[in-house]
Symmetry: C3
Subunit: 138 residues, 3 copies
């Protein structure tokens, strides 16, 4: 059985957005008991991530880390037509994930206790991001 569903995630600019509940709801509605749930983001300046979901300081530290290692406006970048956060957004995307696969067990994603599914918006401006979910299995 294969079920596909598209999510629209509205972001308010750079930052992480927990989409775990949306993903779990699609899996539950799909009626797959055992299999996989594939999550795909149709963009190259926002990405996906599995990360610790308990302490908000983790997300702040992730932004701090990226701000140090892939800073906006770094003079090494030439692809700046859309602004100083354009090329850093592409690099932050390729260093994280554009697609994730999550095991489905007993009708839901078998995430670890502290694992959340995040959409990471890397652009400073708000965007609407398309995410395609494909649930397959028995």
């Amino acid at each position: 059985m294969i079920v596909q569903h598209e999510l629209r995630v509205t972001t308010e600019g750079r930052g992480t957005y927990d989409i775990s509940d949306d993903v779990q709801r699609v899996v539950r509605d799909a009626g797959v008991r055992a299999g996989l749930c594939h999550v795909f983001i149709c963009h190259t300046s926002a990405s996906l991530m599995l990360c610790e979901n308990a302490d908000p300081s983790v997300m702040r530290d992730l932004e701090t880390f990226m701000a140090r290692r892939v800073p906006d406006g770094d003079p090494m970048f030439t692809h700046t037509s859309e602004g100083p956060d354009d090329m850093p957004a592409h690099i932050r995307s390729i260093l994280t994930q554009s697609d994730l696969n999550l095991p489905v067990r007993d009708g839901r994603c078998a995430l670890g206790t502290w694992q959340g599914v995040y959409l990471w918006e890397h652009r400073r401006a708000p965007h609407t991001r398309r995410v395609i979910l494909t649930v397959h299995g028995d």
Copy 2:
């Protein structure tokens, strides 16, 4: 339905190679309408990436970024038997992807408008790289 196919990608050395058309052709020939296309590279010194496919300056900036953060010949590396680009090639590979899953919808990979599928050769010398595609679905 499961269809497997192997691509051979000949590289001219370090750089990015757009394989989107090859992947789309394999998906079309597989006859899967809805499902997933898995792309896997059988090597540890070249990798896969989804990235912006419109402006060539993005690919140049990616190389510049890696040259700064994972430079060839960095004295911290001891695994140098195959040359100064050997260990950096492994690290650039683990920081990007060895496998990608792409959603198949209406018989083709449902990539975003600006998303291309790239093979990223990290060694300086030309290589022939094996890529295994597995298309599955209905």
Copy 3:
């Protein structure tokens, strides 16, 4: 056909652990001839990686690289409740992989000659890590 299996990997603290044989054994026992094997780690401070499996210096250099780029105790981090290696473990995880898909061909994972599947423990203390394998195909 879908077969799920859970591995428990006991680590002795930070370092890489080759789980290729465990993965191959689960695939063989599953009886899938052609398809995919999905490997998923249920944690956010340990990760998965495909890497060169021949020369131990590669793994040492990987640790050296991470120690330089994502150092324990970096004062930029505020999420330190579990110690100086807590936040670096999350970042090292998101820069590598929480899930991998491997093509199954002729009843085994079609890894390249030099490709090994590694669990990378990023915490300094020993842990038991849960890994869910989902093998599917014909």
